[in-house]
């Protein structure tokens, strides 16, 4: 336990100091951390799922608080919680199936009995569904019965299990943890491979002689473009540099190294160039429940320009970036201001940055935000890992949120 705490603290520190760049890295590390939390967590006989959920929640809340802007952390915590419940559910169903056989013979409780068939039917159906498909992110996000039922079942399962043999119990508890860890591993796997999964779709969207514009740098975009290039498509890419971080330079460098025709432009030239562009492909920081996108700064401008010229605006995002929250004033609340030194040379402007001005308030302010919010109305189309209708029922607080995020690829 102590070492887990150390790990958690370490990670919290990193988050607070913004040492981790990019939501993919963040989410992967979050998942790994939660995995170790789960594996270290001692599980009581009863209600193991509840114990796990509590432990994950406790850590998750700290993580989220450490960097509220990094929505991927919250997403992963929710995902892990979901995994725990799901695994528990499937175990319960399995147990229930066994129970049902015996339940016919020995009557126990009227109430229970009334309850059980209905419940078990749904549970079995869900379990069947989830087992029928290969376990993956997609199935995790699939339509599930009310998750409120899960704690209940798990507790009832625990209760009923109390009556079964102790050997069975221990094996089951180990099994739950094991299953959960397995599933989390899969999640991590999914996160690490999300680029490839997205890139697979590249050929469907990029055709010969296309002109593509992107801004800043995103690994997803890089892989996406390179995947299309490997498929022998020849096209050219305009990269806006994404000042003041100049990630676009990095992207351009990578693209050139991979043999793509690349043109590096300034951000201000986006409007000028977009009239000759066939498609805008960009990465995102997070995709909100209303379909809006939190993206690197500057993308709102690009989206507006794209809309003006009716150019498809495609956002690539791994599913760990799908966030079930609705944005409220995202430009301010889901944003971060970075150091002014990226914009102004302090040495050069030291006289202007003097705070002892006449009125007592400085005359000079420098604004250097990190993110932009692109409202859904501007997304001509947004393409995701899985172009799916996603239904999502999860929440850290156990409160039920039903969120329908609809992403349609139509390009």
């Amino acid at each position: 336990m102590p070492d887990v705490q150390a790990l958690v603290n370490d990670f919290l520190n990193k988050l607070k100091k913004r040492k981790i760049e990019g939501s993919q890295a963040t989410s992967r590390q979050t998942a790994e951390l939660l995995r170790s939390v789960i594996s270290q967590q001692r599980v009581p006989y009863n209600n193991q799922a509840g114990a796990l959920i509590d432990a994950v929640k406790a850590v998750g809340e700290q993580l989220i608080a450490a960097n509220p802007v990094e929505l991927a952390v919250g997403n992963i915590v929710r995902r892990v919680l979901h995994i725990i419940r799901e695994e528990d559910l499937s175990l319960t169903t399995a147990a229930m199936a066994g129970l049902n056989l015996s339940a016919v013979s020995d009557d126990e409780d009227d109430e229970e009995r009334d309850d059980l068939p209905v419940l078990s039917a749904a549970v079995v159906a869900a379990a069947a569904r989830s087992t029928l498909r290969p376990p993956s992110l997609q199935t995790l996000l699939e339509d599930m019965p009310d998750s409120a039922a899960i704690p209940h079942t798990s507790s009832s399962g625990g209760d009923s299990e109390g009556k079964s043999k102790s050997a069975d119990k221990s094996s089951r508890s180990r099994k739950l943890k094991h299953d959960v860890i397995e599933a989390v591993n899969e999640l991590i796997q999914d996160i690490t491979t999300c680029h490839e999964q997205i890139a697979e779709q590249a050929v469907e969207h990029i055709h010969q002689n296309e002109v593509i514009l992107t801004l800043g740098s995103s690994r997803t975009v890089l892989e996406f473009l390179c995947a299309a290039k490997e498929k022998k498509r020849s096209f050219r890419v305009f990269v806006a540099e994404g000042a003041p971080r100049y990630q676009g330079h990095l992207l351009a460098k990578e693209l050139v190294a991979r043999g793509l025709q690349t043109t590096l432009i300034t951000d201000s030239a986006v409007f000028a160039m977009i009239s000759r562009v066939n498609m805008v492909i960009v990465g995102a920081h997070a995709v909100m429940a209303n379909g809006g996108v939190i993206a690197p700064v500057g993308l709102n401008m690009v989206a507006l320009a794209a809309q003006k010229h009716a150019v498809p605006f495609v956002v690539l995002a791994g599913s760990h970036k799908l966030c079930p929250l609705y944005p409220h004033n995202p430009e301010v609340l889901l944003n971060e201001l970075r150091s002014p030194s990226e914009l102004l040379d302090f040495g050069e402007f030291s006289d202007c940055l003097d705070f002892r001005s006449v009125t007592g308030s400085p005359l000079l302010h420098v604004v250097n935000p990190t993110f932009d919010y692109v409202p859904p109305s501007l997304l001509v189309c947004s393409s995701l890992t899985r172009c799916l209708e996603l239904r999502w029922k999860e929440n850290v607080d156990g409160e039920i949120l039903e969120i329908l995020a609809q992403f349609i690829t139509s390009c």
């Binding site: 050139v256 951000d267 401008m301 402007f349 000079l364 604004v367």
Partner: protein, 662 residues
Amino acid sequence: MEARRGWRAVPKVRHVGFFTPNEPPPPARTQSGPPDSNSPPLSNSPAGNSLSPVMIPPPRHLSDNLAHRATSPLPVPETSAFRRPIPGGDRVAVVGSYNPTDSMLGASPPLTSPSSRIGDGEFSEESSPGWFRRSNSAKFASSFPGGGFDLTSIKSSETLEVEVKKPVEVPGPNIAEKSGVAGAELQTESQSSSKPLKAKTTKAERRALQESQRAAKAAAKGEATGKPAISSEGAATSKPVKQQPSRKKDALPAATSVAASDRKGVDRPPEKERKKEVPPPRMQFDDKNRVEKAKKRAVVNQTEARNRVELFRHLPQYERGSQLPDLESKFFLLDPMHPAVYKVGLQYLAGDISGGNARCIAMLQAFQEVIKDYSTPPEKSLTRDLTAKVGSYVSFLIECRPLSMSMGNAIRFLKNRIAKLPLSLSESEAKESLCSDINRFINEKIVLADKVIVRHAASKVRDGDVLLTYGSSCVVEMILLYAHELGKQFRVVIVDSRPKLEGQALLRRLVAKGLNCTYTHINAVSYIMHEVTRVFLGASSVLSNGTVYSRVGTACVAMVAHAFRVPVLICCEAYKFHERVQLDSICSNELGDPDAIAKASGRMDVNYVDNLANKENLQLLNLMYDATPLEYISMIVTDYGMIPPTSVPVIVREYRREHLWI
């Protein structure tokens, strides 16, 4: 001929016009001799239906001339009549008033008798070009900064009217007042009332002018199909004779002969002019033949850049690094190049002078030097030789850095002035007059225009405003400072972009003056736009389809402002207006130094692409300008007042002549 027809048509129009109800007589009037001038009423009719014959270009006879001249004054009385409640009495009054005015303006001495014209040079200058009147008027107005200025500031919105009014007033002291009756009349009518009316006249006249030009154009087309497009220079040189008399200050020795030539010129000019006014197609740098030819002539070292951007092959893309030292080393080899021009060229090339106004002024001043040092070689005419010389200098400057459209306008003006020099002038006089013309251009079109714009725009700044500006525009800076001086409380948001980061210099200057500033990058513009209440932008040029051609990024800022429902004000001097039409930022643009893209100034850590400059796949594109579509622009602030972007063609059409003739 056409003109005549137009006149006939007039009465009809007038009928249709809003005037008609109480007015049956007009037609009769028109037929009467001088009354052509009566057309004024026509002019009053709304611009839409009026094709006023009035302005049809060159008068055939003196009498015609007279009539024309009369037209401009006419409106005044007419308008007053219009305003008056009593319809019947008005009419009479109008007519009466009209006559006096007419006499006052032009009819008095010069027109009627050529001899008298000779006598008073000053006078003739203004009065003789009767048909010119309108175009001149603007000039007058501008030439009297004080009066015009005040007026404009008072009624900022009525720019046109003001503008129109000025001419009247200006000559007024000299001419109008002297020729008493008219002056009296004028005074009786409240000035204010007279002005708007005048404006209307001009509208009508404008209409007429347009009509005539159209016709002329059509004719010209028919004739010219065979001929290659005449370069502007050629046309200019050929034409000088036509209209020179009108403009020239000095007395014309043989007034009659001049008048004749004038008339002739007047008859013909439309066609030629039309041809000339069609700007020659820009050099397309993907046209191999022409590029080769140009290269042979080139002074500046032009080696093709290695990684040219495919999309912009039609623009010059040369290696930059070697140009400047190379050109510097040629200093003593360039015989024909005047040192002043050479210096300006170097400054352009090195980027020491930037900004439309600064570049334009520097160029004009260099030309002034040139003219001062100029002496006509034997057996050549000053007009032709100087035009050719200026042309060669201009092409040198173009090699150093492509001209902005405003500079194109300035050059056009200068060439026109040269072409229109009267033959009678001695060389020193001619030089003198050219220099003063240039000075006047700089003063009126740039310096004073800026002042007027500042006054206009500052009226749009309110306490508590947050004003956003992009890059560094000198007019906008003046506006901000002026508003600050007026004691208005506002904040300034300066949006900047790479690679020039011009905003930093602006920021420094504004902060030094005590303005409250916020600085950010163009990417963050949609973050900051929430708090902004107005956007002030400069422009390199405003095109006649309302497109604003400006520093790259302006379009982005305007677009975002539009999306956030923030009004966008473009501040631009009218001499930067251009009749060209542009739909996107690609067909015509300027490319900056690509290496500037690779390096981030002040950021040592950013050097990702430094070593990749030679890679074939990587192109660095440093666009200099972009075109902002008209729907993003709420208003354009010019020296003629504040206009919607849709009115740009009006200004262009209306004042083009003035620009040329100043």
